[in-house]
C-alpha cells in the first residue's frame, strides 16, 4: 500500500535531504576538479530547501506511517535546529576542505544523510524507527570523523567513535528488546503497562539500557570518555556538527521517551540527577587543564550536556514537563549556535592541517584580527553564560525549570559550575586580549562563506540573548505538543 499523500508531505525535509545526498554522489564523477564548488552549492541548496520544506510537517501535525513517526511541534523544532546546523556546517566547510585538499562530494552527502537520521530521531514515535534514525546519523558521522584520512589522529578519532558508538547502539538496541518483552510493543505511546508478569523490572532494565545508549550519544558522564579524543581528531567543521546536531537529536529522543513513557520519568530521575551533576563537574574540571583549544571546547561541550541534563532532570521531576522540555529545546538551539560558531571560527583560525590549535597560538589575536577575536570572545562569553548573550538566557531557563521542580541543590551545583567554567573561558579571552602577539604568520583570511556562518551565529547569539520571547514561545508550544504521560 502506498502511504497517503499527507505522510509524504510530512516527510518532505527527510526526502529532500536524502535526494540531494544521492544526487551529490551521482554528479561528483561528472565534475572536474576545478568545478568542485558546485558540490557545496548543491549541498547548501539541498539543506536550505529541507529547512524551508519543514513548513509541511509544521502544517500537518499528526502520526504518520501507521504510527511510526509522530510529527508535532516538538519534532518540527528539532528539525529546524538540526537542519540549520547542517546548512551552516556545509557552508562553513567549503573553505576548510579546500585548504585540507579533501574536497569531495560524499562529505556533503554524508552530512545530509546524518541530518536525515537526526530528523527521524526527533520524530520517531516507535523505538525501531528511532534506532534506524540513530544508526543513520551515527554511521555517517563515524565516516565523517575520519575524513582527514592522512592524519592519524583523525583515524583514531573515527575508530574510537565507531567502537564506543557501536557499544552504545548495542545497549540501546538491547534496551528496546527488553522493553518490547515487558510491554509487548515498541510504540512509545502504548508503553503504559507491563503486560507480562515481572514486566516492571524488565521495563525498568530496558529503559535503563536505553538511557545508557543515549547518554553515550550526548556525552553524559560516566559515558563521556570518547568525546575529547573524537572531537579533537575529527575535522573541525565536523566537530561543530557533532557537538550540535547529533547531540540535539539524541536529547530530543530522550525527551520524547521521558515525556511519553510514564515509567521513564520516575525511573530515570535519579540517574539524570546524578549524571547531570557528574557531567558538569567532569567537563568543567577537565577543561581547565586543557591547552588545546579544540580539546577545551570538547570538554566544555561535555559540561553543557550536563547543563541540559539538569533541565531534563527537572522535566522528570515535575508533573508539568513543559517547563523543563522548553528549557532543553531553547538551550539546544542556543548551544548549537554558539558551539557551531566557536568551532567554525577555530577551524579557520587554526590554519592548514589545524596546526595552530594551542591556546598560546591565540596570543594577541585581538591586535592582529580584532573582528575574529571579538567574535570568538562573544561565543566564549555566551558559552560561559554572561547576560546579553544567548547562553545566559539558555541557562536562565534551565535554572528556572530546575527551581520550579524544586531541584534547588542541582541549581546550586549548576551555579558553582558556571564559576569553574569562567576560569577557562576567560583564560582564552585573557590570551587574546591581554597578551602581546608572538606569532610570525600573517593574519588568517576570512573567506566570505565563513564570515557568513559566523555572522549568523553571532547575530543569533545576540538575538536569542536579548529577545527570547518568540523562540521560547515556539519551544513551549513544542513542549506542549508532546503527547504527555
Amino acid at each position: 500500500m502506498f502511504p497517503p499523500r499527507e505522510d509524504i508531505l510530512r516527510l518532505m525535509p527527510e526526502i529532500i535531504l536524502s535526494l540531494s545526498g544521492i544526487l551529490l554522489m551521482l554528479i561528483e564523477p561528472l565534475l572536474t576538479r576545478a568545478r568542485r564548488n558546485v558540490l557545496v552549492s548543491l549541498a547548501a541548496l539541498g539543506s536550505g530547501l529541507a529547512l524551508v520544506s519543514t513548513i509541511y510537517p509544521a502544517m500537518l501535525p499528526g502520526t504518520a506511517f501507521s504510527g511510526l513517526l509522530r510529527i508535532d511541534g516538538f519534532s518540527v523544532f528539532v528539525h529546524v535546529v538540526v537542519e540549520a546546523v547542517a546548512f551552516l556546517v556545509i557552508i562553513g566547510s567549503a573553505d576548510y576542505l579546500d585548504r585540507e585538499h579533501i574536497q569531495h562530494g560524499e562529505y556533503y552527502a554524508l552530512i545530509l544523510f546524518a541530518t536525515v537520521g537526526m530528523c527521524v530521531m526527533s520524530s520517531a514515535a516507535e523505538l525501531m524507527t528511532a534506532f534506524v534514525g540513530l544508526e543513520t546519523s551515527s554511521i555517517s558521522t563515524y565516516i565523517l570523523a575520519s575524513y582527514r584520512r592522512d592524519v592519524p589522529r583523525s583515524n583514531e578519532s573515527a575508530l574510537k567513535y565507531f567502537l564506543l558508538g557501536s557499544f552504545a547502539t548495542a545497549f540501546f538496541l538491547y534496551g528496546i528488546a527488553l522493553v518490547y518483552g515487558a510491554t509487548g510493543t515498541t510504540q512509545l505511546a502504548r508503553m503504559t503497562f507491563p503486560t507480562t508478569a515481572g514486566g516492571e523490572r524488565l521495563l525498568n532494565l530496558g529503559l535503563g539500557l536505553m538511557l545508557v545508549g543515549l547518554a553515550f550519544k550526548v556525552a553524559a558522564a560516566p559515558f563521556q570518555l570518547w568525546t575529547p579524543d573524537v572531537y579533537e581528531g575529527a575535522p573541525a567543521p565536523i566537530t561543530a556538527l557533532m557537538a550540535s546536531g547529533p547531540k540535539a537529536a539524541a536529547f530530543a529522543l530522550l525527551l520524547r521517551i521521558l515525556a511519553t513513557v510514564a515509567a521513564a520519568g520516575t525511573f530515570w530521575f535519579w540517574a539524570l540527577w546524578i549524571s547531570a551533576a557528574l557531567t558538569m563537574f567532569v567537563g568543567n574540571l577537565a577543561a581547565i587543564a586543557q591547552h588545546n583549544v579544540k580539546r577545551m571546547l570538547a570538554y566544555s561541550s561535555i559540561s553543557h550536556a550536563g547543563y541540559i541534563l539538569v533541565a531534563l532532570a527537572a522535566a522528570a521531576a515535575s508533573d508539568q514537563v513543559e517547563l523543563g522540555v522548553a528549557a532543553v529545546l531553547y538551550y539546544l538551539a542556543v548551544y548549537a549556535l554558539m558551539k557551531l560558531g566557536a568551532f567554525i571560527l577555530v577551524s579557520q583560525l587554526s590554519g592548514e592541517s589545524e596546526r595552530h590549535m594551542d591556546i598560546d597560538d591565540f596570543r594577541g589575536l585581538a591586535m592582529r584580527q580584532p573582528v575574529a577575536a571579538a567574535c570568538f570572545a562573544l561565543f566564549l562569553l555566551s558559552l560561559l553564560g554572561l547576560p546579553v548573550t544567548a547562553g545566559f538566557l539558555g541557562k536562565f531557563y534551565i535554572f528556572h525549570a530546575a527551581l520550579a521542580s524544586r531541584l534547588i541543590w542541582l541549581a546550586v551545583l549548576l551555579a558553582i559550575n558556571t564559576i569553574i567554567a569562567a576560569f577557562y573561558y576567560l583564560r582564552v579571552i585573557v590570551v587574546m586580549y591581554m597578551r602581546e602577539p608572538n606569532q610570525t604568520w600573517p593574519p588568517v583570511p576570512m573567506p566570505w562563506a565563513v564570515t557568513f556562518v559566523l555572522s549568523i551565529a553571532a547575530a543569533g547569539t545576540f538575538y536569542l540573548g536579548l529577545f527570547p520571547g518568540r523562540v521560547m514561545a515556539l519551544a513551549t508550544q513544542a513542549a506542549l505538543s508532546l503527547p504527555g504521560r
Binding site: M367, L381, L386, P387, V388, F392, F396, F399, H400, L403, A404, I408, A411, V412, A415, T418, I419, A422, F423, L426, R427, V430, Y433, M434, F467, P468, G469, M472, A473, T476
Partner: protein
C-alpha cells in the same frame, strides 16, 4: 514624570556613543579622546535634568518607564529612580568624564578600546542603578563586569591579569548565586518586578517562610558583600584597585563598590527584613572589623595606591554599618557616605594617578617633599585627604557623623568601635601625606617634576568644588534622599502573620491560604 524617556537615554547614550568611536580610525587618538569626552559630558548635562524634574519629598519611583520585554516568564523593561538611586546616577555621570580626563595622557596604547570600555561601563552602571526589574538588574550587573575586566586586564599595571581574573571570578561567584535566589523569588511570588514583589510582601500576599527568607537574604547579601567589599571578602579589592589604570580605579572605587551597598539598601533590607535583623549583629561585627582592619592595613602600606585601596575597605565598612543599624538617620548617612566616598576616593585615585604619570611608581619612599615642586597637586591632595578623613565643613564629616549618630541611638558599642576608624583614617592619610609631600625633596628626580597642567587643574577644581559643596550644602542632597530612606523602613513592615512567625521562630506558622 510618566512618558519621559530620560532614563532610557541616560542608560544607552554612552553605549550608542561607542558606535561613533568605532567609526574613527583606531590611531586617531586625539579625536577618539575628544569625542568620548564630549559624549560623557553631554551625558552628565542630561543627567542634570534628573535633578530638575525630581520631586524631592516623594518616596515614589520617578521617571518611570515600564514596557513588556520577555513574555514568559514575565520580565519587564522597568526603569525608575528614587532618592536612593538619583545621586548614584549623577555620581556615575560625573565621574566618567573625570576618569576620562584623568587618563587623557596616560593611555597611549589601544586608545579606542579604552574609551569604548569606559563608555560601556558607564551604561552598565547606570543600568544597574535605574533597573526596577530583578532580571534587568542582574543583566546590567553582569554586563558591566566585562568592560571593567578589560580595563584592568589590558591597561593595568604589572600584575593586571591576575587582578582582572580575580576581580571577575569573585564577583561572578556572588552574582550567580544571586541569580538563583532571584529565580527562586520569582517562583514564590510570580514576578520579577521589584515594586510588585515589594507590594506583595508588604501586603502579605506572598509570605516567605523564615528558612526561605534567610537563604534568599544570604544569596543576595553574598553578592553585594563581595562587591562592597565587606571583610573578609575584600581580598580582590586591593589587587584590582592597585593594578587598574587610574580611570579604572576611579570608576571602581567611585561607583562600582556603591553597587554593593546600593543592592543591600534596595534589596536585602526591604525584601528580607526579618533575615536582615537576624543577620545584622554579624554584619555589623564584620563591618567594624573592616573599618579598623582596613585602616590599620592602610597605615602600613608602602604603596600609595594600595593605601587608598585599603582605605576604601575601611570607609565602606562605615556604609554597611550605617545600613544595618536600622535607623533612618544612619541610613541617610550611609547613602551620603556612599556619595562622599565616590567623590573623595575618586579624587585620591586621580591624584595618585597624577603622581604615577610623573614618576611611574606608587611607592611612598620614592616620593618625599613633593610640595616644593608640585604645590598645586599638594594643596589639592591635602584638601581631599582631609575630606576623606572627615574634617568638618567637608563632605566626609556629614556622612560619618550621620552614620555614627544614627547608630549610637541603638547600639552604643558599635558606634564607639567604629569611631576608632575615624581617628585611624586621619592617621594613615595624614601620615602618608607627610611622607609624600613634606620635608626635603629626597630624590633628585623629583625636583624637576611639572605641576598640574590646565587639564589636571580642571579635574581637581571640579572635584574639590563638589567636595566643598557636599560639605556645606548637604541639605540640597538630603532633602531629596530623605523620603526614600524613610520609605525603606516602611517597606520593611510586614503584616501580622509575619510577627506571629517571628514569635514562633522555629516552628512553622499555620499556613494561611496562598502560602508558598
Amino acid at each position: 514624570m510618566r512618558g519621559s524617556y530620560l532614563l532610557t537615554v541616560l542608560t544607552f547614550l554612552p553605549l550608542a556613543g561607542t558606535l561613533a568611536l568605532f567609526m574613527l580610525r583606531p590611531d586617531d587618538r586625539e579625536w577618539i579622546r575628544r569625542i568620548a569626552l564630549a559624549i560623557s559630558l553631554f551625558e552628565f548635562a542630561l543627567s542634570l535634568l534628573l535633578l530638575r524634574g525630581f520631586v524631592p519629598n516623594s518616596a515614589d519611583y520617578q521617571f518611570v518607564e515600564l514596557h513588556n520585554w520577555i513574555p514568559s516568564p514575565p520580565i519587564h523593561y522597568h526603569l525608575g529612580v528614587d532618592g536612593i538611586s538619583l545621586f548614584l546616577v549623577l555620581l556615575t555621570t560625573f565621574l566618567t568624564p573625570i576618569a576620562m580626563l584623568a587618563s587623557w595622557k596616560s593611555i597611549e596604547q589601544r586608545v579606542r578600546g579604552f574609551f569604548i570600555s569606559l563608555l560601556v561601563l558607564e551604561s552598565g552602571v547606570i543600568g544597574v542603578f535605574v533597573s526596577l526589574d530583578l532580571f534587568e538588574f542582574f543583566l546590567f550587573w553582569e554586563v558591566m563586569l566585562i568592560p571593567m575586566y578589560f580595563l584592568i586586564g589590558i591597561w593595568g599595571h604589572e600584575r593586571r591579569i591576575y587582578a582582572a581574573v580575580k576581580f571577575i571570578l569573585y564577583t561572578m561567584l556572588g552574582s550567580i548565586l544571586m541569580l538563583v535566589a532571584m529565580i527562586w523569588l520569582y517562583e514564590l511570588s510570580g514576578s520579577f518586578d521589584l515594586p510588585q514583589i515589594q507590594n506583595m510582601l508588604v501586603s502579605g500576599q506572598v509570605i516567605l517562610s523564615l528558612r526561605t527568607e534567610l537563604l534568599l537574604f544570604a544569596a543576595f547579601f553574598l553578592a553585594f558583600a563581595i562587591k562592597v567589599p565587606l571583610f573578609p571578602l575584600h581580598t580582590w579589592l586591593p589587587d584590582a584597585h592597585t593594578e587598574a589604570p587610574t580611570a579604572g580605579s576611579v570608576m571602581l572605587a567611585g561607583v562600582l563598590l556603591k553597587m554593593g551597598t546600593y543592592g543591600m539598601l534596595r534589596f536585602c533590607l526591604p525584601l528580607f527584613p526579618e533575615a536582615a535583623h537576624r543577620f545584622a549583629p554579624y554584619v555589623a561585627v564584620l563591618a567594624i572589623i573592616g573599618i579598623i582592619y582596613g585602616a590599620l592595613v592602610a597605615m602600613v602600606q608602602t604603596d600609595l595606591k594600595r593605601l587608598v585601596a585599603y582605605s576604601s575597605v575601611s570607609h565602606l565598612g562605615f556604609v554597611v554599618l550605617g545600613l544595618f543599624a536600622f535607623d533612618p538617620t544612619a541610613v541617610q548617612g550611609a547613602l551620603y557616605q556612599m556619595l562622599n566616598h565616590g567623590v573623595s576616593t575618586g579624587a585620591l585615585f586621580v591624584l595618585v594617578g597624577m603622581l604615577y604619570d610623573r614618576r611611574h611608581t606608587h611607592l611612598i619612599h620614592e616620593f618625599g617633599g613633593l610640595a616644593t615642586p608640585l604645590p598645586v597637586i599638594a594643596a589639592f591632595f591635602l584638601f581631599v585627604s582631609l575630606s576623606s578623613a572627615g574634617l568638618p565643613m567637608l563632605n566626609g564629616f556629614i556622612g560619618e557623623f550621620l552614620i555614627l549618630a544614627g547608630t549610637f541611638l541603638h547600639h552604643v558599642n558599635w558606634a564607639s568601635y567604629a569611631a576608632i576608624g575615624i581617628i585611624l583614617s586621619a592617621v594613615y592619610l595624614l601620615w602618608a601625606y607627610q611622607r609624600v609631600f613634606f620635608g626635603e625633596v629626597t630624590q633628585d628626580k623629583n625636583r624637576t617634576l611639572r605641576d598640574a597642567d590646565r587639564r589636571e587643574r580642571v579635574v581637581l577644581v571640579a572635584m574639590a568644588a563638589l567636595i566643598l559643596w557636599m560639605g556645606i550644602g548637604s541639605v540640597s542632597f538630603t532633602r531629596r534622599t530623605e523620603a526614600s530612606t524613610r520609605n525603606v523602613f516602611m517597606l520593611m513592615q510586614r503584616p501580622q502573620v509575619y510577627n506571629a512567625r517571628a514569635a514562633l521562630r522555629s516552628t512553622p506558622p499555620p499556613a494561611p491560604s496562598g502560602i508558598r
